[in-house]
Symmetry: C2
Subunit: 354 residues, 2 copies
DNA sequence: TCCGAGTGAGTAACCGGTTTCTAGCAGGCT
DNA sequence: AGCCTGCTAGAAACCGGTTACTCACTCGGA
């Protein structure tokens, strides 16, 4: 434990935190504001503001005096006050149900990078899967921001529609609504590519390892499969889940199903299934082919490497900023963009032998 | 592409975005402020403020009138204006070099959850490994926040020290500085546990797969190994890196080194080494033992499952909020907390046979 | 020399809240 | 009746910036 060489200093209106310090001189420094700088430089606050914002209408000699005073006082304009006066915060919010989901981590990263490059800050709000909190969370966040990127798969459409005018400018992730810009992953197209790949390898009996029943991304995948199965192949389904353990647990059932190919809800499940099948002595892809979905970083490293549909997650975040940015800049026609996953054929799929 | 049923509406001072709408009535709604509510309810702005903040000194009948007016106008107080008036934003910033690092993802998640539970928002700033930008980024962020959690392994100590008073309240991650609260992972202790485990299994020739030379977490691990090796075991070192591929590439060198145990810089490297050794027909742990570091989610699922030192990453974020929160609440003595990783013995280590 | 245009900097009105101070009024006590 | 107390709600002063407006001054041209 450290001895407190410094201590926290509170004071002024509202008893706000002024910093750690050793005396009053540091207090003065911590509270430097535009008025103090103006006094120190012997000019008006307007002039200080103009200098700080680089307006060229200030005489060089005056500007120099202001900058000197600002440096001496360690002055930096309050972003909060600026935001209030300007009516914009140069901040956007990302609202996600769950930060541990790699999908949202990548959206976050792409968004952070793209928005940061354009000088915007990113506020992040996690609803922790509590749908009932999502609405108030989003409104809360919006009130300190210029716009919102919302990933809210479970919020009822009626609630969302009511929310839209209060959240705009708004970009939706993985969900569409008339009149609102959105970015989605076309899971159906990804499934279609996987199925086409398996059919081309001669597979006619496919088993789907279903994800969480409540999740829309599961039902989208399942719906696509059901639509495609029409006479082209036999489709069976095993209730599974979203984790390695879920996939591992159903390996026996998969082996006994008579299917020659497995489409797993996602890569984790596929990975679990691979592991389970390996333990049962079932050869992949010799006896059975396995596909995942998502292309998580580890999909390349399973044995055998996993054939999967790669979701362009970074692109999603980057595009989200792009759409939001154009909205912030001027009126635009809302656009719904869908990204087609990319089929990655690796070692876990092979020609059907039965 | 959607037809633009709605369009963007701009107007008012500063030409700020007012929302998508169909007409002027929506504009009024979007710009509802405390004055409008006060007028609608026939009271002063002060009274509206008191009602919105739940101050009990307003007559129930008046409060009801205010709330009705607020609802009718879809009024919600501007958080920016509140922040300015109150001198606090109920927001904290997390500054990290790289969001794709799982370590920081988990810190982010823990911090987001803990701060959110206490009604605080989280602003996230990523320096993208540009040390020179980090300082201005941090100051920028701090100006719209009440406090900062800073993970900045590469920023020179002198710069950091100069920054501290301007960033306070501040919590440092994985780095200590006299007088500043900090949270670190005790990598040396983790290495010590791994070494003790390997020694107890009879290993006396250990090879270290080194991480990126510039990284402090690599040098901390290496230093600890060198300190411990003193006569107790023979230590060799192979320059490697931080990725699966790096580990995979040095498998041959490992096999030829004569060492009976491998301590990899991290789990990814260990995983790559496992994969490479498997391809070379080297049995793990029969012929050689392998350990990782971090306990990434996949460490449980490698073949064999990876013995590693688990870094308590979620705890780090949660504790960071705890330390920041106490600083925001009142003066505190800064404290430097170190977390000892937890040794997880799995299948990749076994008794030395040579 | 006089006038108009152009320019630089200050004044003051915002942005949208919070809060201190105070006035007004009701009620209780002597 | 008169005075003191307590409570409610409004007036006004903040928080820390930005900017429209204005005014004084300079310079160029007639």
């Amino acid at each position: 434990m450290f001895r407190p060489e410094r201590f926290c200093v509170y004071g002024g209106a509202g008893d706000r935190f002024l910093g750690w310090g050793l005396g009053v001189d540091e207090q003065v420094r911590a509270t430097a504001n535009i008025r103090r700088v103006a006094e120190a430089a012997g000019v008006s606050r307007a002039t200080v503001s103009r200098v700080m914002n680089g307006h060229a209408t200030v005489a060089p000699e005056l500007a120099e005096r202001v900058l000197t005073a600002a440096r001496a006082l360690d002055y930096a304009p309050s972003q909060v006050a600026r935001s209030l006066a300007l009516g914009r915060t140069a901040t956007i919010a990302l609202i996600v149900p769950d930060l541990s989901n790699p999908m949202f981590q990548d959206v976050l990263r792409g968004l952070s990078l793209a928005a940061g490059a354009d000088g915007h800050r990113l506020l992040i709000a996690e609803s922790n899967e509590q749908v009932e909190d999502e609405e108030v969370l989003a409104l809360e966040a919006r009130r300190r921001c210029d716009g919102v990127v919302l990933a809210s798969p479970r919020l009822p459409t009626a609630d969302l529609e009511r929310l839209v005018p209060q959240l705009a400018p708004l970009v939706l992730i993985n969900r569409t609504l008339a009149g609102v810009p959105s970015l989605s992953v076309d899971y159906a197209a990804g499934i279609q590519d996987l199925v086409a790949h398996l059919l081309s390898l001669g597979h006619r009996r496919i088993v789907y390892l279903a994800g969480p029943p409540a999740s829309t991304s599961n039902s989208e995948r399942l719906d696509a499969l059901v639509r495609l199965s029409n006479n082209a192949f036999a489709l069976t389904q095993i209730a599974c889940g979203a984790t390695f353990e879920n996939g591992h647990a159903v390996a026996g059932e998969v082996a006994g199903s008579g299917a020659t190919a497995v489409i797993a809800y996602n890569d984790m499940v596929a990975f679990g299934a691979l592991s389970g099948l390996h333990e049962l002595g079932v050869d992949v892809p010799g006896q059975i082919s396995v596909t995942g979905f998502d292309d998580i970083p580890f999909a390349r490293f399973t044995t055998p490497p996993l054939t999967t549909a790669a979701v362009p997650r970074n692109t999603l975040g980057k595009q989200a900023w792009h759409q939001l940015h154009t909205q912030l800049t001027g009126p635009t026609a809302p656009e719904a963009v869908a990204f087609r996953p990319r089929l990655l054929v690796r070692g876990s799929t092979g020609r059907s032998t039965s």
